[in-house]
């Protein structure tokens, strides 16, 4: 598995810009290099430009500026059918007037492959997604999950090296979606293909990808492996978009290498790791994950600051307690604590002190 972004990546977006109306840029100066065999996810809210990037890669949209390279070759002017890229669409796009078998044979047929070879390949692809018995059915006779598998098999049957997936699991229910995530990941690993996956579901992005590119406003906000993305977001947007997140606005009080203290708008001082701040006195937004908040002094490093909190609500969620608190003027500060044997039970109205390891609080841009 190659997770390193190199200049000679398998797929390269080189200063790519895209505008539909000549007035606004949907994609602003995109630079991205995807390694061979990598599973890269483009994650972002709708309208962030991620689908446009995918469509440019597939050849259905042309880049207004810049170059897209596939295996070292510029493919800007190559029509979609010559790119040899497999694609899975959001609504599956299985041809309704053909049987499952004919759907899968289609890409082989247009490549002029002989009948016997075609049939063997179709059967192999169907078996790969455990749909071998369904070759003579029509897509309309299949369930959503089955159609999904067929769409996947069709995108893989002609052995493409690169497969694009445009929110392929969006229409499935939660359980099936999680199952299919696992299957797609498994196929990716066994076949050694490169996958570019587009989704707006952060859970999907985190569980499946080697690297995730978080899109917003036509730019990649952060490109990183899932754990880094979750634990070390580079800016407020990423921190907000990925997972649950507590925000505390304030000003940088002191700055010392990898540590800083922030004076909140209500006067308290907290510890943080400087990420997007450069000087004392700068406005910042400190981001802390709910599960990293501590309320037991013995769990805190020595000398760390703790601040006052008032418990507003404790929600029992089975595996965890979700405690909503009033902290530094905000009423939606959330702490998650594991439901372990002997866990201290908090009650609404209780006043406690909370704190965190300085590296878990990240001083980001004020948005």
């Amino acid at each position: 598995m190659n997770t390193a972004a190199t200049d000679d990546g398998f797929v390269v977006f080189d200063h790519v810009q895209k505008s539909y109306d000549g007035e606004t840029l949907v994609v602003k100066d995109l630079n991205l290099s995807i390694g061979k065999g990598e599973f890269l996810t483009m994650l972002g809210p709708s309208g962030s430009g991620k689908t446009t990037c995918l469509m440019m890669l597939a050849g259905f949209e042309t880049a207004t500026h810049g170059e897209i390279r596939l295996a070292g070759k510029n493919i800007n002017d190559l029509p979609p059918h010559k790119r040899g890229i497999g694609m899975v669409f959001q609504n599956y796009a299985l041809f309704p007037h053909m049987t499952v078998g004919e759907n899968l044979a289609f890409p082989l047929e247009v490549r002029g492959m002989g009948k016997s070879e075609r049939e063997a390949k179709v059967m192999r692809a169907l078996d790969m997604v455990q749909m071998g018995k369904f070759a003579n059915r029509r897509p309309a006779q299949l369930s959503g999950g089955q159609q999904q598998r067929i769409a996947l098999a069709r995108a893989l049957v002609f052995d493409p090296e690169l497969v694009l997936m445009d929110e392929p699991l969006g229409a499935l229910d939660k359980q099936l979606r999680e199952h299919m995530q696992f299957e797609i990941k498994h196929l990716h690993e066994t076949l050694g293909i490169t996958v570019v996956y587009v989704t707006h579901d952060q859970g999907e992005a985190l569980t499946m990808s080697d690297r995730v590119a978080v899109f917003n406003d036509g730019r990649i906000q952060q490109l990183a492996p899932p754990d880094e993305l979750y634990e070390r977001p580079q800016n407020s947007f990423v921190a907000q978009f990925i997972g649950e997140n507590n925000k505390l606005p304030g000003k940088v009080e002191s700055l010392d290498g990898d540590n800083c203290t922030v004076r909140l708008s209500t006067g308290e001082i907290i510890d943080a790791t400087p990420v997007n701040v450069r000087s004392v006195g700068q406005e910042t937004l400190v981001s802390i994950r709910p599960e990293r908040v501590e309320f037991k002094p013995e769990m805190m490093p020595p000398g760390a600051h703790m601040i006052d909190a008032e418990v507003l609500e404790v929600i029992y969620m089975g595996d965890i307690f979700r405690t909503r608190m009033k902290v530094a003027g905000t009423e939606d500060f959330v702490m998650k604590s594991r439901n372990t044997l002997g866990q201290t039970k908090l009650r609404a109205g209780e006043r406690i002190k909370i704190g965190w390891h300085p590296q878990d609080a990240r001083a980001l841009d004020p948005m």
Binding site: A58, G59, F60, P79, P80, H81, R83, G84, I85, G86, M87, F89, Q90, N91, A93, F95, P96, H97, F106, P107, V110, R111, R154, A155, F158, L164
Partner: protein
Amino acid sequence: MTDATGQLTTADGKPLKAALAASLATRRRRAFLLVAPLFLFILVSFIVPIGQMLYQSFYNDTFSATAPNLVQWFDEHPAGSEIDESAYAALAADLALMKQEKTAGAAGTRINYDVSGSRSMFTSTARKADKFEPPFKEAILAEEKKWDDPIIWRAMRSASSPFTFDFYLAALDLTRDDSGSIVPVAEGQAIYKTLFWRTLSMSIEITALCLLLGFPIAHLLAVLPMRKAMLLMILVLLPFWTSLLVRTTSWMVLLQSQGVLNDLMVWMGLIGDDGRIQMMYNQTGTIVAMTHILLPFTVLPLYSVMKTIPPSYVRAARSLGATSWTAFRRVYLPQTLPGIGAGGLLVFILAMGYYITPALVGGADGQMISNMIAFHMQKSLNWSLAAALAAMLLAIVLIFFWIYDRLVGIDKMKLG
């Protein structure tokens, strides 16, 4: 729950099916009452008149009701019997009756369908019917020599029964010879079969043209952004809101030999002033004008089908390695078939029965069967023949409908 025989029952033991029927009965009655006014309207204004019309195509009693004595004589004397004095006596009695009742014209018209010129024989001979005295044969022949023509007697014999399929024979350019067997009519008199063929071939040409022209427009409508699509849609529908007569007349202005198109071509030097092209009062004129008028009927069903085809199908085909032509042929076109079928069938059926446009721009060459039906309704007053022609037109349309159902399936039709 089940009873002893294994049938499903409700909680209190009633059979489930009966309970279901009872519970649905009220709803069904209400639904029927809602459609009853429309049903009655269609029955009175559509089904009954069509039935009556079809009935007329094989039932015509204008002669048999006015000539009771001849009817009786034909009943008693089988075909081939000698036309003797008793026959002339019956004729004389009937002519007298016709004079009295003033029905000689009507009876004569009926015989005139088969033997032209016979109407005047009836009216003129009936005028003197009071004065005939036995022997009637001499008396009548003295008045009008043509009465001993066996063709007249054969025509009267066939008209003596109100039920006849002779009108269908006539509509197929067939007739009965002296011995009563069915033969084609003389070379120069055959018109209907050619006319049916022409109507059919012109309708097919118009349908093909409409589909050819309508397909790209419908596709454009389906893929353009909303605002532009609406504008284009209005342009497509504009002719719909204009009177049919106005549209046909404007084609006359455009196409006639001193018309806009010819003037333009002469002005541009494409043709000489003496070489103006005859684009109207022939089949070309009819086809051009009707294609224009019927075009919206193909565009609308096609558009409604194309609107539901997501662009991802063609994209999927392209990404799978198909050229744009292959993607169109193998993926897009098959999915528009319900629209092509509906639009094509609609235009074809409308074209088969089109009247006003061929009447105005068709000339002699561009007439269709409907114009002949109108002629028999209005000019020749041979309603039975008109009804027979209309019945055959209806049959042809139904046959095409059936073929369509077998090939495409009527349930796949989408009319927008």
